[in-house]
Every structure is written in structure tokens, then in C-alpha cells.
């Protein structure tokens, strides 16, 4: 039986390092190629030696698909393509293609220039890697080769994020990447049609969370920021340069405007302006409202939000600073955090998920004494708030997507095992489909049972539909044909055509039965009696009395002759072909019972 095999090299019962291998109908596709923010050793990248120990990866993979620009989905790409070696096509959407190299370069700089690592990918490698990228449009069907096609759907989450359908023949897999089922201030909601894939591979970051309304969270967030600023405190919001940053900027910008607040808002890193520029140029990927009004007012041109300078961190008085990266694991956000952590007037708001091992994760799990580099202990007195603004689907959203796509199987990745387990049960209960959650390196096998497409001759199809039209259009129609299998082509034709194509002639098998009837009347009178009798019994059949004295019931012929020896007995000849056997046989037994007297 045909099967689809899925092996996560990353994101199997884990968040980070997304990388999932899919084998479908003889094609191998790699979904995402991410890095793990919780590790600084070999484990930060997926173990590509799983694919092959010594050959070129190109020989084993038909294509690579990147769902969006977050580094846990594309961070290992230059390593994979340039250092391990892959020359095949890499697919991603236009915004992802535009933004991904910038984040990769940023990542490289932090790793090589700041941490001093060697044996890391270089800027040139990022460029060479991006040359292998083919950009795709939403909903465009991309023919990777003759059999393999992929199609991108809008995923929300971040600018350019996409879900991908991978299809070979009738078998298909949908990979969601990260997605968001509720529209936010700058992005739309994920959408997919009822494509009924054999397998849906879904992220499950918030497998067990059902978030309260977005409005409440926003109000909460604004209230906290406002209060802190009012009492003269500083607010640090660690974010990634693109994504939630823009969402929260829009939120604060409109709030500052409405409340007429004066406290400065800063956005760290030189990336900001550039990042916002991407949003302006790819405005077609944002939500409806922003797209509609961008000519009058571009939402990504901020009045209140200024570029941050490192010196500002020591300025007295309140301020709000957006700083990268989002998990407080390195860079400017961590620097500012160390400066402000000691003051209880200040606040850090973590707006997104934090991977295990990061400072963000530690403080969110309640740790207040952190061991920093050089054994230094940092005491955290500032308030720590967590507010889920990350644009992932929650449990409700995941169920909603499953309902939309109607998959035959579901496989969960990009989540924590315990939470996945819970969601898995829920999915199996509600949708009665199998749900899988392989760990990294584990293979899940899904059996598919595809129907077989064949070519049917129009004559045969029309014949059957025509017959079906007569009695009851809703009644299923029975059809009889011959399936001709030659090389790899399957054609369903009428038996006549099959015979003809093979140069064979039909062999006609015919039966004629003699039925003796006691009837002293003249032959034609007997015939008339038989005719009336049959007409009375076989209401739904075409019974005809032909001029030559014979009777037909459909294609069955009945003739009467006198018995050569006994004038009181008439002989009925009933004749039919093999194809009409049922009716012919029925008629003979019916006539054998004799004629009812009343029909005389």
C-alpha cells in the first residue's frame, strides 16, 4: 500500500530547529531548515547526516521548502546548502526571500563577530545559498518536476509566512509552518481551502492554550506599559526585528497618539527602518485594512517611535524600548535587560514564546537570580510580564484549521511533547483521524489508499449517464466496461471497443427454449393471450407485438407454433442472448406456469 513517511530532524516534540523530511510517492521533500536557539553546539542545526552519510544531499532531496523567515525555520539553510552541500531548488515566498538573508547575516554576525566562533557559514555562503531560492506566489502551483507540485497558502504569523501543500498524483501533504488563525493589527488570518490532504503537519506551539480575546491582551499590555511609564519606570520589550515588533509598534503608536503621551518609544538596531520598509513594499501581504488605506496613511511610518541609541539606556526617566532578539539570549535586548533588571520600577514584557535555555525562558519560569557570563550573578528585581502576542494558532485555531483542510491524518510538530499528547487526543476524538507526534529522528508512516485515475471513453460514460437519467437521477448507476492496461496507461472502454481495439470479434451466445402451452385456440390467438399476459405482468418493460406475429420483451423474442403432433398444444419459442439471460430465463419460467384464464 502506498505510504507517506515523515521524519522530523528538528521540531519533533520540540520547538526550534524545524526540519521535517517527507517521503511521498517516491519524492523526498525537506520542510524548513531551522536552527535551535537553546543550543550553541552541534545540536543547534538539524543532523543532516540522517539524510545521507556520504553522498550529496541533492541526490536525496527533490526540493526544500522554507515556510517563513524566522531563524528556527531557516537558520540552518546556508550551513545545509553550502557547507553540507545541496544544489537543488529551495522554495519560499517573496517576502521570505527578501528578509531571510538579512536575518541570516544578523545571526552570522552575532555568532562569528561577537561570540568569535569559527567554522560558521560566511556572508558569501548566505548569498550563494539565496541564489538557489525560487520565490513563489501565494496559490501558485509550482511544478517542481513532472510529478511533484507545491502550492503556498497564506499563514499569517509573520510577513510572508506560508503553509505549503506538497502533492504527487492524488497524494498530498500540507505543512503549516507557523500560522495564526486570527487576524491581527497588521496581518491577516491563515487560510486554506478544503484540500483534504492525506496528512496535515501542524505546528502546536500553543497546543493546550486557548487564548482569551486579543482585545483583552492588548488592553492589558497597554495598561502595564502605561502604568510603568507613569511611575517613571522603563519598559523593555524584547522582540525579533520583524514580526511581533511591527504589531506592537502599531499598537503603541496608536495608543500614544490617542492618549497624547510624551514618554519616548525607541526601537533598537539599525534593522528597524529597513524592516519597516519591507512591510511597506510588501504591503499586499498585510491585512485588508492596512492594504486598503496605505495610500492615505502607511501604517508602517511611525511618528512616535524613534531609533534607539545605546547611550539612551542610561537616560533618566521613563521610556519604552523594543530591542532584539526576542528571547533575551544575546544582543541588545540582553544588554538593556542587564542594565535595567535591578530596578523594581522597570518592567520587561516578553511578548512571545521563549525556548528552553534562553534568559527569557528562565525569567519566565520564575528564576530571579541568573548566572551570567563569568559567574556573575544577576538579580532580577524588575517586573517580568509574559503576554502572548506571538502569532501562533492556539488549540482552537489548530482545530479550526483541521476543520478547514479536512486531512485524513494529522501530525504535530513544533511543540512540547506533553502538550502535544493532549492535543493529539483531542484531535483523534473530534475528527476520528489518526494523529502522530514523532520525536526527532523517529519516522511516522502513514498509509494512503489513493483511488486510481483512469481515462474513460466518453461514449461509455455518456451511455451510462444516459441510462441513469431515465428512472431516477439520484439512484446510483451501474456501469460495465473493460479496463485496458497497457504500459502505464489505464483506459476504461466499452467491451465492444475493447474487443475492437484488440482485433477480436464478439462471440454471441444465444439460448432458445421451447415452452409447451395447453391452448386449443388458433396460433395468433394464443400469441395475443401471451402478449396480454406479459404486458400485464411486466409493467416496466417494453413488451411489443410485432406484425409478423412474434412478441418481444425488450430484446427477447417469443414466437408460437402449433405442436406438430398435438393441435391442443402450442409451442412457444423463447430466444435470448447471454447478455439478457436473467430476463430470458425468467420469461421461460413465467410462461411455463401457463396462461391465466382471465386473459382469454
Amino acid at each position: 500500500m502506498p505510504e507517506i513517511k515523515i521524519t522530523p530532524l528538528g521540531a519533533g516534540q520540540d520547538v526550534g530547529r524545524s526540519c521535517i523530511l517527507v517521503s511521498i510517492a517516491g519524492k523526498n521533500v525537506m520542510l524548513d531548515c531551522g536552527m535551535h536557539m537553546g543550543y550553541n553546539d552541534d545540536r543547534r542545526f538539524p543532523d543532516f547526516s540522517y539524510i545521507t552519510q556520504n553522498g550529496r544531499l541533492t541526490d536525496f532531496l527533490d526540493c526544500v521548502i522554507i515556510s517563513h523567515f524566522h531563524l528556527d525555520h531557516c537558520g540552518a539553510l546556508p550551513y545545509f546548502s553550502e557547507m553540507v552541500g545541496y544544489d537543488g531548488p529551495i522554495y519560499m515566498t517573496h517576502p521570505t526571500k527578501a528578509i531571510c538573508p538579512i536575518l541570516l547575516e544578523d545571526y552570522r554576525k552575532i555568532t562569528v563577530d561577537k561570540k568569535g566562533e569559527t567554522n560558521f557559514f560566511t556572508s558569501q555562503m548566505i548569498k550563494d545559498c539565496m541564489k538557489k531560492v525560487v520565490a513563489v506566489h501565494l496559490h501558485q502551483t509550482v511544478q517542481v518536476d513532472e510529478e511533484l507540485e507545491i502550492k503556498a497558502y497564506y499563514a499569517g504569523h509573520v510577513l510572508g509566512a506560508a503553509m505549503f501543500q506538497i502533492k504527487v498524483g492524488c497524494e498530498s501533504v500540507v505543512y503549516t509552518g507557523d500560522y495564526n488563525m486570527t487576524p491581527d493589527r497588521h496581518l491577516g488570518a491563515a487560510w486554506i481551502d478544503k484540500c483534504r490532504p492525506d496528512l496535515l503537519i501542524s505546528e502546536s506551539t500553543y497546543a493546550t492554550t486557548i487564548r482569551d480575546s486579543k482585545r483583552c491582551r492588548e488592553r492589558d499590555f497597554l495598561k502595564k506599559v502605561h502604568e510603568t511609564v507613569e511611575r517613571g519606570g522603563k519598559v523593555l520589550i524584547p522582540v525579533f526585528a520583524l514580526g511581533r515588533a511591527q504589531e506592537l509598534c502599531i499598537l503603541l503608536e496608536t495608543f500614544w497618539e490617542r492618549m497624547n503621551l510624551k514618554a519616548p518609544i525607541y526601537f533598537s538596531t539599525g534593522l528597524t527602518e529597513k524592516a519597516n520598509h519591507y512591510y511597506k513594499l510588501f504591503i499586499t501581504w498585510t491585512n485588508q485594512k492596512i492594504r486598503k488605506t496605505f495610500v492615505q496613511r502607511n501604517m508602517f511610518e511611525f511618528k512616535h517611535i524613534k531609533a534607539f541609541d545605546r547611550a539612551f539606556a542610561d537616560n533618566p526617566g521613563p521610556m519604552v524600548v523594543f530591542a532584539t532578539p526576542g528571547m533575551l539570549h544575546a544582543g541588545q535586548s540582553l544588554q538593556i535587560f542587564r542594565k535595567w533588571a535591578g530596578n523594581e520600577k522597570n518592567m520587561v514584557i516578553m511578548p512571545g514564546y521563549c525556548v528552553q535555555g534562553t534568559v527569557g525562558h528562565k525569567i519566565l519560569s520564575g528564576q530571579r537570580k541568573l548566572e551570567m557570563e563569568g559567574r556573575q550573578i544577576l538579580e532580577v528585581k524588575m517586573q517580568v510580564e509574559y503576554m502572548s502576542f506571538s502569532a501562533h494558532a492556539d488549540a482552537k485555531g489548530i482545530m479550526q484549521l483541521i476543520r478547514q483542510a479536512e486531512p485524513r491524518n494529522v501530525l504535530l510538530v513544533h511543540g512540547e511533547a506533553k502538550k502535544m499528547e493532549f492535543l493529539k487526543q483531542k484531535i483523534e476524538q473530534e475528527f476520528h483521524v489518526n494523529c502522530y507526534m514523532p520525536a526527532n529522528g523517529e519516522t511516522a508512516t502513514i498509509f494512503t489508499n489513493p483511488s486510481i485515475p483512469v481515462d474513460i471513453s466518453l461514449g461509455l460514460l455518456k451511455r451510462e449517464t444516459a441510462i441513469g437519467l431515465l428512472p431516477d437521477a439520484k439512484k446510483p448507476k451501474l456501469m460495465h466496461g473493460t479496463l485496458m492496461m497497457k504500459d502505464n496507461s489505464f483506459r476504461l472502454v466499452s467491451p465492444e471497443q475493447a474487443l475492437k481495439e484488440l482485433g477480436l470479434t464478439e462471440h454471441q451466445l444465444r439460448f432458445t427454449c421451447r415452452v409447451h402451452i395447453q391452448d386449443p385456440r388458433k396460433e395468433h390467438e394464443t400469441v395475443l393471450r401471451v402478449y396480454n399476459h406479459l404486458k400485464g405482468v411486466l409493467k416496466d418493460y417494453s413488451v411489443q407485438h410485432l406484425p409478423d406475429g412474434s412478441i418481444t420483451v425488450e430484446s427477447i423474442l417469443i414466437q408460437a407454433t402449433a405442436h406438430s403432433e398435438d393441435q391442443g398444444t402450442k409451442v412457444l419459442l423463447v430466444s435470448w442472448t447471454y447478455q439478457d439471460e436473467e430476463l430470458g430465463s425468467y420469461l421461460t419460467s413465467l410462461l411455463k406456469k401457463g396462461l391465466p384464464q382471465s386473459t382469454a
Binding site: Q140, L281, D455, L461, T465, E496, Q508, Q579, D580
Partner: protein
């Protein structure tokens, strides 16, 4: 006894007619009457304008409208709508018939020997009576110029379907419509001329009014609510997106290289492919290049929207445009460029961006005046995915793809919604003004024609190819200003077409009749027509073409359970057969074959059965048989099964096998077997099964 049996036999012979009866009923496939309408493919041609097409394709069970172009050349017969009172236009004399009757002098005005209708300009609509437009399932739009009649179709007929277009097509199409409506509504005209349209009256008018076609079909412009309603029926699609229509047909837009979001369309089923090519370009301007490869292997290729100026080279025209512009400005004159608010203007601004510094024009103001100027300039920058590779690369940097962003930033290019308001304060001469409408009948351009027409220092440069510049200028004559004609039409020319057709090799080409003969003014230029084999089928307005194609197969899916139950038999080396008896389900034009349901056991009933209860319910389908029966082996088989008195007689065509005791006779010939027996059902069934052992089932 033997003789009487032989008599039986001859009686039965006369029943051979029965065989013919069956054949007649079931027939070969050729004889099955199929719904012809469903098998033919028809093209209804609703527009006669080759670059503003409107065709309806009936294909399989779908009805697809291809574009709805609006022929605006009709407006050339009208007087311009001036934004500010024009003494010249209002003083034009009324037109008087030769016999001196003046009843038309309110409706028709004369200017320099030409007669114009003094009324709100009207447009020539596509045919609306050739077929019932409520039957149109979908409309496919290929580019923003070819959708201008959309509100007339969606809001003025009973059309209820869906419209498909790319996002840039929708957005820019909206801008074009907005500009059109705005320009016309801004100048309210209380007069609506109708008398001249009377057939008897029209006959008396001078050319070209006399020859104007379909004047009864001319309509006033639609309104903004109608535009919005029409656009709300559009579903946006992307290049290479496969869109299923009722499961019967798949349509796919492909990049056509002509404008932002412009597309050609593939309309196909599993077995047939129709390509609709409309407004395509192979030149490298700003849009994504044309996708030619996907047009290959079409059964029919419908070709519209070729260049309207086949003799002009767009590159040369751009050069002339720049040099004429520079010359005029250097001499202290103003330049007027009548244009659409989107399209070629982006390319012209880009050329000027590179040109102005070297030509010493850095201080000359460029004005772009249109109610949608700002929107158009903004929108052009956000369609990165629809742009050529170079521009895409710029967006990745990220930089705006078009340099007019920089022209605006440096104040070299200024845009205004109209001549009123800010513009009148900022206006400095000499300058260059880009404004619409290219017909010179409405829009801000009318004002500049009136303003600058009297001075020979000024120049009007025509770049849009849709209107004859001489006709456009007629109501402004006599003119002192210079007129330069630099039509820039990047659409395919005939050389490119013939190369394209050689490349993609469609079986049949269908095109407007204008493309099958040289242009009327250049009848010797036989190179200015489509040359292909077989020759193209041509259409004209209001014609219905039956397109050649032959459909023989359809896709059907065999469900896995049914597939498992099939028993393939190798009949010849490499060819296997399996007889299939299955239930056919058809839903949304998709066909599926399933295992037939197991016959239900009739519930045991104690009631006395009526005779009719036993009547077979539906016709069970028996296979056809093939093969022949070797008599010797058959006799051996009979003997093995206990028939001891088998006798074989030879006949002319075969044999007769007699079972004397059973009074049964089996006639065996090459292609037939006839079992004649008394009504002894068990015997008949037994003989049948023995015969079937020698035959193959189909």
C-alpha cells in the same frame, strides 16, 4: 424425431434477426447519441475591437467570458468636456443640414469642418444580446485595460457569476475606472443628445458620424457605486494558480509581460487545452516576463491584443519622446503628454529619470495630474512579486522598485488630483504635464489643450496608441502647438507572433479578422498579418464560431476497494484487461467508480408472492464474450459431464452438437453458439457454463 428436431432448428434460424435487434439497441460507441452541445466548443464574439476583446467561450459545461473591453473610440465623436468654461467651444456653430434644416443644431456642433455631438461622451458596449449573459459562469480578465466594460456586464445584465483577475489588475483597473468616472462626473452636462442616433437622421450626417456603428449600443459612463459593485465580484488570483470551475474545467492565469498583473489564461480539462492570449509583450519593461512555455500544446489558441502600431518600434518611440520633450522645454515651451494614469507612464518616468540630468532638464517641473495620480504611483511600488527580475531585486534591498519615488522625493515630479487646488499655486512654466484622458475628450488634458493650443512653442506628445491622434485633435483645430506622435505599444508585433506560434504550436489559432489581412491603409504589407498553418479562424463582432476539437476521453477515479476487486488478465503481451462492473457516482462533474453494493437478501416473507414480485429489478450487466469453441474439446467436455449420446453434424459454417436424449441442440460457429433446448433450466445453465469455459469475458 431427428427430422422434427431439424425442423426446430430451422424455426430457430428465423430468429437470427434477434441478434440484429440487440446490436441496434446497444450499438457501437459511435452510435450513442451524446449531447452535441456539450461536446462542441463555441466562441461568441461580443466585441469587434481586437485590443479590447470580449469573447465568450462555451467549453464542456462551462460558459466563460474572456475579458470585457470597452471600446472608447466612440468618444472621439463628442465635443470635449472643458473643466473651465471654454468660450471657443461654447461658440461653435450648430450643424445645419444641406437642406438648411436646423433641428440638430443643439446636438451637433461644427469645428473646422468636423461635426461633433455636444453631449456627455458615450462608450460602445460589447454585444449583450448575442447570448444570455446570465448564463456566463465566470469572467476572466487579462489586464486592466480589458476590464473597463465590467460594470456594464455585472450591473446592467443578469450576470451572477464570479470574475477572476490578478491583484494588480483589480487595483489598477479600479484606478482607471475611478479616473474615468471622476473626469466625466466632474463636468455635469445637462444635455443628452439622442436625436442624431435615429437611423434616418444618422444617414444624413457627415462621416465619421454617418458610419459610426452600433450607436444604439452606446452608453453613458457608469457610476462609482456601480464600479464598486462590479469590483466586489472579483476574486483575486495569482499567476499559475489553478482554479477549478465546477470540477469540469481548470483555468490558470499566466504572466503575459504587458502590464502589472497582466495575464494570459489557460482553460483546460484533462484532455483539452485552450490558450487565451491577450495583451502580451516580449519587451523587457517593468512587468514580469511573459510565460510562453505554458502555452504549449494547445488545441486552440485565441489570439487578441496585438500591437496597434505594428510599424513603430517602442524603443525608438521612447527616444523620440525624450528628444522632442527636451527640445520643446529648452525653447521655453510646455509639453503635454496625454496618458493613462498607469502603465507606460511608469516607463516614461523611468526614462526621464535617467535622461533629465544629462539633458539639462533638472529644473523643469514634471506634473502628473489625475484624480488617481497618487494612488497609481503608490500602488506601482507595492507589487514586487509582479515585477521583472531587476525591479524585484531592488525590493529585496529594500528599495522602491520604481525610480519615480526618488523623483517625487527630490520634488522633480509632483502629482495633483486635478488642476484645481494646490496645483494652481505651484504651477510653473515651462513644464511637462502628464494627464488624461488620451482621447482628449475629458479630464484635465482638455484644459491644457485649450490653454497651450494657441502657441507654437508648446508640444503635445501622443504616446498612448488607443486613439488616432488626428481624430483626437480634431475639435481643437486650428492648433498652433506642435503635435508629435510617438505611440508606444509594447504588445506583440507580427514577427513576434509568428515566432511565438512556431514555438508553442497550437493546433488551431483563432483571432479577430483584423489580424488576418494587412491594415487597410497598408494593403501591400502582407507581413502585417498572422501567418500560420492551418490558417487562423477569424471572428468579427456578433459572430459565433464553432471551434474544432474532439473529445474522446474523460477522467474517472476508481476507488481503492473496487481496484482491489479487479482481476486483470493478460490478453496479449503487455496488454491486460479487467472487466469492471461498478457503480458510477457523478458529483460536481467528477466521476467516481465504486464497488457495486451487495444485493440485498429479500426479507423472508410468508405472504404468497405475486407473480410480478419476481420480475428482475434492474438489468444486470453481463459481459461480452469472445473466442471460439473447439468442437472436439467441447464434445469431450460434454462426455466428461455425463452426456453419453453426443452426436456432431457438420454444417456449412460450423457444427451442430446434438444431445439426443435431452432433445437439445447446440449450434457452434466461429463467432456464435446457440443452445436450443426444452424448458429445462438446470440443463441450460449447465450447458451455458460449459460453453463459457471456452470463452473470454469482456
Amino acid at each position: 424425431m431427428a427430422s422434427s428436431r431439424a425442423g426446430w432448428w430451422w424455426d430457430c434460424k428465423s430468429h437470427e434477426a434477434l441478434g440484429g435487434l440487440r446490436a441496434e439497441q446497444e450499438g457501437g460507441e459511435r452510435d450513442i447519441p451524446v449531447n452535441r452541445a456539450e461536446l462542441s466548443m463555441k466562441l461568441y464574439c461580443l466585441s469587434g475591437h481586437p485590443t479590447l476583446p470580449c469573447n465568450v467561450l462555451k467549453f464542456k459545461s462551462t460558459t466563460i467570458m474572456l475579458d470585457c473591453g470597452l471600446d472608447m473610440t466612440s468618444t472621439l465623436n463628442f465635443l470635449p468636456l472643458p473643466l473651465v468654461q471654454s468660450p471657443r467651444l461654447s461658440k461653435l456653430p450648430g450643424w445645419v443640414l444641406k437642406d438648411g434644416s436646423t433641428f440638430l443644431d443643439k446636438e451637433l456642433k461644427e469645428c473646422s469642418g468636423h461635426v461633433f455631438v455636444d453631449s456627455v461622451p458615450e462608450f460602445c458596449l460589447p454585444e449583450t444580446e448575442l447570448l444570455d449573459l446570465s448564463t456566463v459562469d465566470v469572467i476572466l480578465i487579462s489586464n486592466y485595460h480589458c476590464m473597463m466594460a465590467l460594470p456594464y456586464i455585472t450591473e446592467y445584465t443578469r450576470f451572477t457569476g464570479t470574475v477572476y483577475a490578478t491583484e494588480p489588475t483589480v487595483q489598477i483597473g479600479r484606478l482607471l475606472m475611478e479616473e474615468l468616472v471622476n473626469c466625466i462626473e466632474r463636468v455635469p452636462k445637462d444635455q443628452s443628445a439622442f436625436m442624431w442616433k435615429n437611423k434616418e437622421v444618422q444617414r444624413l450626417l457627415p462621416a465619421p458620424l454617418k458610419d459610426a456603428v452600433e450607436v444604439s449600443m452606446w452608453r453613458k459612463c457608469y457610476t462609482m457605486p456601480e464600479v464598486n459593485a462590479a469590483l466586489s465580484k472579483i476574486q483575486m488570483v495569482g499567476y499559475s494558480q489553478k482554479i477549478e470551475l465546477f470540477g469540469a474545467v481548470q483555468v490558470t492565469p499566466l504572466s503575459s509581460g504587458y502590464a502589472l498583473g497582466s495575464s494570459n489564461w489557460i482553460i483546460q480539462s484533462h484532455y483539452e487545452k485552450v490558450s487565451y492570449v491577450s495583451g502580451s509583450s516580449l519587451l523587457t519593461t517593468h512587468p514580469q516576463p511573459m510565460d510562453q512555455a505554458s502555452l504549449k500544446n494547445s488545441d486552440v489558441l485565441i489570439l487578441t491584443g496585438l500591437t496597434q502600431i505594428p510599424t513603430a518600434n517602442p524603443d525608438g518611440m521612447v527616444g523620440e519622446f525624450c528628444s522632442n520633450l527636451a527640445m520643446t522645454v529648452r525653447n521655453g515651451g510646455n509639453v503635454l503628454v496625454p496618458c493613462y494614469p498607469s502603465g507606460v507612464i511608469y516607463d516614461l518616468l523611468e526614462c526621464l529619470y535617467q535622461y533629465i540630468d544629462s539633458a539639462g532638464l533638472s529644473n523643469v517641473p514634471f506634473y502628473f495630474i489625475s484624480p488617481v495620480a497618487n494612488s497609481s504611483l503608490e500602488f506601482s511600488q507595492i507589487f514586487a512579486e509582479w515585477l521583472c527580475h531587476n525591479k524585484q531585486t531592488k525590493v529585496y534591498l529594500p528599495e522602491p522598485p520604481f525610480p519615480h519615488a526618488e523623483l517625487i522625493q527630490t520634488n522633480k515630479l509632483k502629482h495633483y488630483p486635478s488642476i484645481h487646488g494646490d496645483f494652481s499655486n505651484d504651477f510653473k512654466q515651462p513644464c511637462v504635464v502628464f494627464t488624461g484622458h488620451p482621447s482628449l475628450r475629458f479630464g484635465d488634458v482638455v484644459h491644457f489643450m485649450e490653454l497651450w493650443g494657441k502657441s507654437s512653442l508648446n508640444t503635445v506628445i501622443f504616446t498612448e496608441p488607443d486613439f488616432s491622434y488626428l481624430d483626437a485633435l480634431a475639435p481643437y483645430q486650428p492648433l498652433a502647438m506642435k503635435c508629435v506622435y510617438c505611440p508606444i505599444d509594447t504588445r506583440l508585433n507580427f514577427i513576434q507572433v509568428s515566432k511565438l506560434l512556431k514555438e508553442v504550436q497550437p493546433l488551431h489559432v483563432v483571432c479577430p479578422e483584423q489580424y488576418t489581412q494587412p491594415p487597410p491603409t497598408q494593403s501591400h504589407r502582407t507581413d502585417l498579418m498572422i501567418d500560420c498553418q492551418p490558417p487562423p479562424m477569424s471572428y468579427r463582432r456578433a459572430e459565433v464560431l464553432t471551434l474544432p476539437y474532439k473529445r474522446r476521453y474523460e477522467k474517472i477515479e476508481i476507488m481503492p476497494e473496487l481496484a482491489d476487486s479487479l482481476v486483470p488478465l493478460e490478453i496479449k503481451p503487455g496488454i491486460s484487461l479487467a472487466t469492471v462492473t461498478a457503480v458510477l457516482h457523478t458529483k460536481d462533474n467528477k466521476h467516481v467508480l465504486q464497488l457495486p453494493p451487495k444485493p440485498l437478501q429479500p426479507p423472508a416473507s410468508k405472504k404468497r408472492k405475486r407473480v410480478s414480485d419476481d420480475v428482475p429489478e434492474c438489468k444486470p450487466l453481463k459481459p461480452l464474450l469472445s473466442g471460439s469453441i473447439p468442437v472436439d474439446q467441447f464434445v469431450q467436455m460434454l462426455e466428461k459431464h455425463g452426456f453419453s449420446d453426443v452426436k456432431v453434424e457438420d454444417t456449412a459454417k460450423g457444427h451442430i452438437v446434438l444431445l439426443q436424449e435431452a432433445e437439445t441442440l447446440i449450434q457452434i460457429e466461429e463467432d456464435s453458439t446457440h443452445i436450443i433446448c426444452d424448458n429445462d433450466e438446470p440443463l441450460r445453465v449447465k450447458l451455458r457454463d460449459l460453453v463459457l469455459k471456452f470463452l473470454q469475458k469482456f
